[in-house]
Symmetry: C2
Subunit: 362 residues, 2 copies
């Protein structure tokens, strides 16, 4: 073990525009969020590896003696299946909680099999909702990859004594991203690679051309009607990227936000046209619009998650009333900004106290 | 006067798809309705010309001696302005009721100025709502043109003794249509010519490439986003025309109606994207969808009128419940079919008794 203790974090992501259209060669626009997943990795002498994921009620512990039996298989193409048997997850079960355990063990074994399996405790706490399409699994995978790569000595711990927060060099980030992607493959089967890239590098905006989708039937049924809609979505993503880029390089004006709102409204209609909308998302749009706020679904659609744009001048009382309206309809709400930094190492002092308390209780 | 009495009728119209997109060179799809405007013209010896439009509370009467003073101006480019002064309509007032009076006098004078101005009574009753974009003014103009052309002897009365209902030959219909268009110009200023064509020829479907619209700003603002939307609307109109045409030549299947419903839903979203939607139309869509029925706005949008598709298997109790739901929201409802015949002459026996009673009371 190269480090005694390491705190890392990685951001979640939101798709602003282009979900579903991307599979048809169109651009999708992903942004990092300022909602993060935090992880503490601590070397110890318990002779055990413990994984604590209190968000999803996962508290696992394995004896090193048991884990060592898996070492011969660490390059086996069947490693994931072997790990399934080891953990006792039935074949066909792809529950995210179980997959998060598999992804951790996979990266742990792969990185330490050729040296000594270390005894350590890993604890994770996320500000992100699980399974809402906000990249919580990728943020987790990025944290696991960064912390274990660091612990194994493959990459250095970037944090200097006098630092509170540090990032890795580009080469190290690429390694973190590639291991996080392996974790994502275990968790999602066929990830786009966007979520782990956003978790690793953060910032806005990031375009992608690969994602999953369910709109093919409708496109095959009405090609002359649907193909232009995808073209329009593509143009929305590009326009939004341009506007966001202007907002980082020029004085931000109300017109910037007006355009962002119009793009949200247009795309929400397009998503409904593509058949991936959901009455609950229409409700979100209606409830927020009644307060003057514009929303669209984000991610896979068919329920799931929506994004609502808050203008800088939006009064906090309006935000609070809207949140209450949404909660009254049974929705959960998270307020955040976009453009969160990619994966970081923190000093304990740089981790919010409440999160630190959670991570340190295991 | 060539005829003592003539009953005529003409259908209203609905735009199924393509409203607003047509100004950008796209196709719009208009169909005739089985809601009609009926007119009775009766020659008399009162020395007066009377115009009774009970739907819009217009009951006018002019002495022939007064009307004869207008004859010298019948080819004057300023005739409409002269008629305004005659009737006493303030300049700038373009109220439909007043314009309907002007259109009648314009056609009356134009057709009879070179012979003798006849004494007659014209009464109109319409099943169409006024000002809802369902072509009520065009149906009126078509009736005025047909009845006055007939009365003047320019075209024959097609009704034979043994007929109940008759239509004119193609050449006569073209003349009716051209005079109706002149009436429409007076009533609307800049009509597309679609409404009077549908009123004259009826049937389904009729494509057009000219209409008014208010979407230019948005297209200029986001050309790359909006141009594909117009392409999609164009494809919707073409697909709908193809499906309707199949339904007249092949056995009608549930899938035909499924497609018509999907086209309605997609286009309703597009119209919202184009910025011509209205919350009240969204309400219509939501209320009808709760009963399994699909709706979209029709015509100019921004409020106005919507169409809801009734499938043949839709239970009449569902229709009645939906109508009640809509009425509870403050909407008026008309149930009709599409494909009504163009302008017709009727025997009194062929006019529904309640309408005959109204027309004959003046």
């Amino acid at each position: 073990m190269q480090v005694k203790e390491v705190y890392v974090s990685a951001p979640g992501k939101a798709i602003l525009h282009g979900e579903h259209a991307v599979v048809h060669g169109k651009v999708a626009l992903a942004v990092s969020l300022n909602l993060r997943t935090y992880m503490r990795l601590e070397a110890n002498t318990t002779g055990k590896v413990s994984l604590n994921l209190p968000n999803i009620d996962i508290f696992m512990s394995w004896d090193l003696s048991e884990l060592r039996k898996l070492v011969p298989y660490f390059r086996d193409a069947e490693l994931v299946r072997i790990l399934r048997d080891f953990v006792g997850i039935a074949n066909g079960n792809s529950d995210t909680c179980n997959m998060a355990t598999l992804a951790f063990l996979y990266i742990y074994l792969s990185l330490f099999a050729l040296s000594e399996l270390p005894s350590l405790t890993v604890s994770v706490w996320s500000e992100l909702p699980t399974g809402a399409g906000l990249g919580s699994s990728a943020a987790y995978s990025v944290c696991v990859a960064a912390a274990l790569l660091c612990a194994s000595g493959v990459i250095p711990a970037p944090l200097k004594e006098w630092d509170h927060t540090s990032r890795w060099c580009q080469e190290d980030l690429e390694l973190i991203n590639s291991w996080a992607f392996k974790g994502e493959i275990i968790i999602h089967g066929n990830p786009s690679g966007v979520d782990n890239a956003v978790g690793t590098w953060g910032e806005v905006p990031r375009s992608t051309k690969v994602l999953v989708a369910r709109v093919k039937d409708k496109i095959n049924k009405f090609p002359s009607i649907m193909t232009p809609v995808l073209d329009s979505v593509d143009a929305i993503s590009c326009t939004c990227e341009k506007v966001l880029s202007e907002m980082t390089s020029e004085p931000i004006t109300g017109e910037h936000y007006n355009i962002l709102e119009e793009l949200i409204d247009i795309n929400q209609h397009h998503l409904n046209v593509m058949g991936v909308g959901h009455p609950t998302l229409d409700t979100v749009c209606r409830v927020t619009l009644a307060r003057g706020l514009h929303s669209k679904l984000t991610g896979a659609g068919g329920g799931g998650c929506g994004v609502t744009l808050l203008r800088p001048e939006t009064d906090s009382s309006v935000v609070q009333s809207t949140i209450q309206d949404l909660r009254d309809c049974g929705f959960d709400c998270w307020e955040t900004s976009i453009g969160g930094a990619g994966v970081q190492q923190h000093s304990p002092a740089a981790v919010k106290q409440d999160i630190l308390d959670i991570l340190n209780q295991y």
